[in-house]
């Protein structure tokens, strides 16, 4: 199962390396990672999509280990929270002049845009959820995809931010452990 985490980190040299090194060392598989600036110059924001074969237990491990990094300010597991997620792709498709109209109409279904036209190819820019981009790619594939690049997923929760530093294990973080002791604790 894939989980999505947002991490706010200090904007300092080497921080990306620390995060990446942590995932390698703890044997977690990053599906996608997007890093960029935020409204505060001293803070960068990472969106990570991570494969968690053991579900919530892995998600807890990732969250807790990220907190161990001194430069990590806040971690949010947004997998279960209402949020907006976006990915962007640039897709270069083979398109002789007589095929351009077809590409154009496919693109418009996905509200994608043609951003470059060459003699026998065009570049399509598409933004949206993972599924939407996958759909666009599948439709364009028969025409011949020459090159593709994707930004990786970025995410933002809807409404007001749930707040900062919910230390895993200290407060209810929505993870579902099957508590053997549930009957006593409930």
């Amino acid at each position: 199962m894939q989980y999505t985490f947002i991490a706010l980190v200090e904007n300092k040299p080497g921080v990306l390396n620390r995060v990446a090194s942590l995932f390698r060392r703890r044997n977690f598989n990053i599906e996608s990672l997007a890093v960029g600036r935020t409204e505060k110059p001293e803070v960068s924001r990472m969106t990570m999509v991570v494969d968690c074969p053991n579900g919530d237990v892995d998600a807890h491990k990732i969250e807790a280990n990220l907190y161990k990094l001194v430069n990590v300010i806040d971690v949010q597991d947004v997998s279960r929270q209402p949020s907006v997620t976006r990915d962007m792709a640039l897709i270069k498709v083979k398109a002789a002049p007589e095929k351009r109209a077809e590409v154009n109409s496919l693109a418009s279904i996905f509200r994608a845009r043609i951003v470059d036209v060459a003699t026998d190819s065009v570049i399509v820019e598409v933004t949206g959820t993972e599924e939407k981009i996958e759909g666009m790619v599948e439709l364009l594939r028969p025409l011949g995809i020459m090159e593709m690049v994707r930004t990786g997923q970025i995410a933002m929760t809807r409404g007001a931010n749930a707040g900062i530093r919910r230390m895993p294990g200290m407060e209810d973080n929505g993870y579902e452990y099957d508590l053997e002791a549930a009957e006593i604790l409930s």
């Binding site: 237990v57 161990k68 230390m167 895993p168 294990g169 200290m170 002791a181 604790l185």
Partner: protein, 561 residues
């Protein structure tokens, strides 16, 4: 006032209360060594940077304060690596300071340039590459704070040579401001109440006392909690000393070479209270069969340890001393007589097999002589060990009453740790009797530090358990590889002559009758002494839970007729 980066570094160390640093100079840290002459900090010139790292670690563990070790760039720094990893695995607060080539040379494979922050990224709690003098004050301040707070650990500062030389205004940061670093302090009240309810229901509870108890200074709270609830206390290797061994509720060490009754108590318990320990594979055995009937409460400051190896029912994330102190007034008094009697029955059986009750057979057993050492020193010495059989026997038979006197490499199992960590411990506690227990193999890994002990007049007694084997590996080959001995036979130098060449008084002991007198002789000398004990060659550490076996599946010492 303007100062050089090197001066600022020393200035900050003085303000952190550093009295001693263990190090080795070289090209990339010469400005630091030059500036050092003007500051009231004692420098110990070690013989190998690994030794320096272990000394700083031993100092930290004996004093509860931050240790400091230094090296030059490149090979100096890589020689520190084993010591850094050792400190990391045992959560020991040590600040490592390495020299680095000048900032403008970085990335160009300059002479003795090695990517030290890269290498040490996974084996430090945090690390820094400092390229400018004006970063130093803040970085040093942060490094000490990070090393000692929360779950302690090593922090490395790699300082470029230009940053050591450049002059800048010295402004000491009064406060440490770290956006993303806030160690948890207390567990939420609601969780404490849940814990109380679990404790209420328990008929067969057991406390697993880990290193965290000592690190957070929670010994007193633990004692109150255990006596009030009449809960027996089993210790991890590093938790030994946190709970007095002579206390009726003390179960001694758990795990692979833990006592039989201790492991049986854990396996048969219905509630585990894990205090500052991390369910290492050496203490759990097979996880699938581990304490199957027990509910588990995990008191731990590092949330990433929660559910890591063992799934627990209730994590209490916070500083252990706070959490346990908060619990004490909340819990009721219990007696658990039935449960304690059952454990005592297992203990009685275990005692019957103990090597302590063997009839004298003229052989010299490590277990016996550790017991003799315990008696001779009144159980009050600081004990450091190397890694191997002797380490386990020392853990089993040097019964500890107090914390911070037991210094051993647990998580990393680093051979060569014993002698240097003892030297470090001496700097922390010069009035205390200190014994380093080592195997013939491990002693030779850092034996060069004997000269350091002489140069510093360090009053450490070194006891070498010479069995002519890499004993622990030999034991595994005996048990699990059909006695096919491979690369475990060791020819050693004449240890007495070796000590003599260092100017260290030394004796060889071959029988049990000589043991006590030799120990007393060593104790009567101020300064380092070496005792070589020619011990039984093919003795094995019992009980033993084979790796991956269930915790109650112990190989037991054969009963001697």
């Amino acid at each position: 006032m303007k100062k050089t980066g090197a001066e600022i570094m020393w200035e900050c160390l003085v303000r952190e209360g550093v009295e001693v640093v263990f190090g080795y100079p070289g090209g990339a840290n010469m400005p630091i060594y030059d500036a050092m002459l003007n500051y009231p900090i004692h420098h110990v010139l070690v013989r190998h940077e690994q030794g320096g790292a272990h000394m700083a670690d031993g100092y930290a563990r004996a004093s509860g304060r931050v240790g400091v070790a230094m090296g030059t760039s490149g090979p100096g720094a890589t020689n520190l690596v084993t010591g850094i990893a050792t400190a990391m695995m045992d959560s020991s607060p040590v600040v490592f300071i390495t020299g680095q080539v000048a900032a403008h040379l970085i990335g160009g494979d300059a002479f003795q340039e090695i990517d030290v922050t890269g290498i040490t990224l996974p084996i430090t709690k945090h690390n820094y590459l400092v390229t400018r003098a004006d970063e130093i004050a803040e970085v040093v301040r942060e490094a000490f704070y990070i090393a000692r707070s929360g779950r302690p650990g090593p922090v490395l500062i790699d300082i470029c040579k230009n940053a050591q030389i450049e002059q800048t205004e010295f402004i000491y940061p009064e406060e440490v401001k770290l956006l993303g670093y806030q160690p948890p302090a207390r567990a939420p009240q609601a969780d404490l109440e849940k814990a109380v309810r679990l404790i209420e229901k328990a008929k067969r509870p057991v406390i697993l006392c880990g290193h965290g108890v000592i690190v957070s200074g929670a010994e007193e709270a633990l004692l109150h909690f255990a006596t009030k609830t009449q809960t027996p206390v089993a210790s991890t290797l590093l938790g030994l000393g946190a709970f007095p061994a002579s206390h009726p509720l003390a179960l001694g060490m758990m795990g692979m070479h833990g006592e039989a009754h201790t492991n049986l108590a854990i396996q048969n318990s219905d509630l585990i209270l894990a205090f500052g320990m991390r369910f290492d594979d050496r203490v759990t055995g097979n996880l699938k069969t581990y304490a199957p009937k027990a509910r588990k409460i995990h008191v731990e400051i590092d949330p990433s340890e929660v559910h890591k190896n063992v799934h627990v029912d209730l994590p209490l994330v916070g500083d252990l001393k706070n959490v346990v102190s908060d619990l004490v007034p909340m819990v009721d008094e219990y007696d658990h007589d039935e449960w304690l009697n059952e454990i005592n029955g297992w203990k009685y059986e275990a005692d019957e097999r103990s090597i302590m009750n063997w009839p004298e057979d003229g052989k010299l057993y490590v277990a016996h002589l550790i017991h003799d050492l315990w008696k001779a020193t009144g159980g009050g010495a600081i004990i450091t060990t190397d890694v191997g059989q002797h380490q386990m026997w020392t853990a089993q038979y040097y019964a500890l009453e107090k914390p911070n006197r037991w210094i051993t490499s647990g998580g990393s199992g680093t051979m060569g740790f014993g002698l240097p960590s003892a030297i470090g411990a001496w700097f922390a506690n010069k009035d205390q009797e200190i014994w380093a227990i080592a195997g013939d193999g491990g002693f030779q890994m850092t034996a060069a530090e004997l000269t350091t002990a002489v140069q510093e007049g360090a009053n450490v007694k070194v006891a070498i358990m010479n069995n002519n084997f890499l004993g622990m590996v030999r034991q595994w080959q005996e048990f699990f590889f059909e006695k096919r001995y491979s690369a475990v036979n060791m020819v050693s130098p004449d240890f007495v002559k070796l000590a003599d060449a260092h100017g260290v008084p030394a004796r060889r002991v071959t029988t049990r009758e000589e043991v006590d007198e030799a120990i007393q002789w060593a104790r009567s000398i101020a300064g380092p002494v070496v005792l070589e004990f020619r011990v039984e060659k093919e003795d094995a550490v019992y009980p033993m839970v084979p790796a991956g076996a269930s915790l109650d599946q112990m190989l037991r010492r054969p009963v001697k007729q």
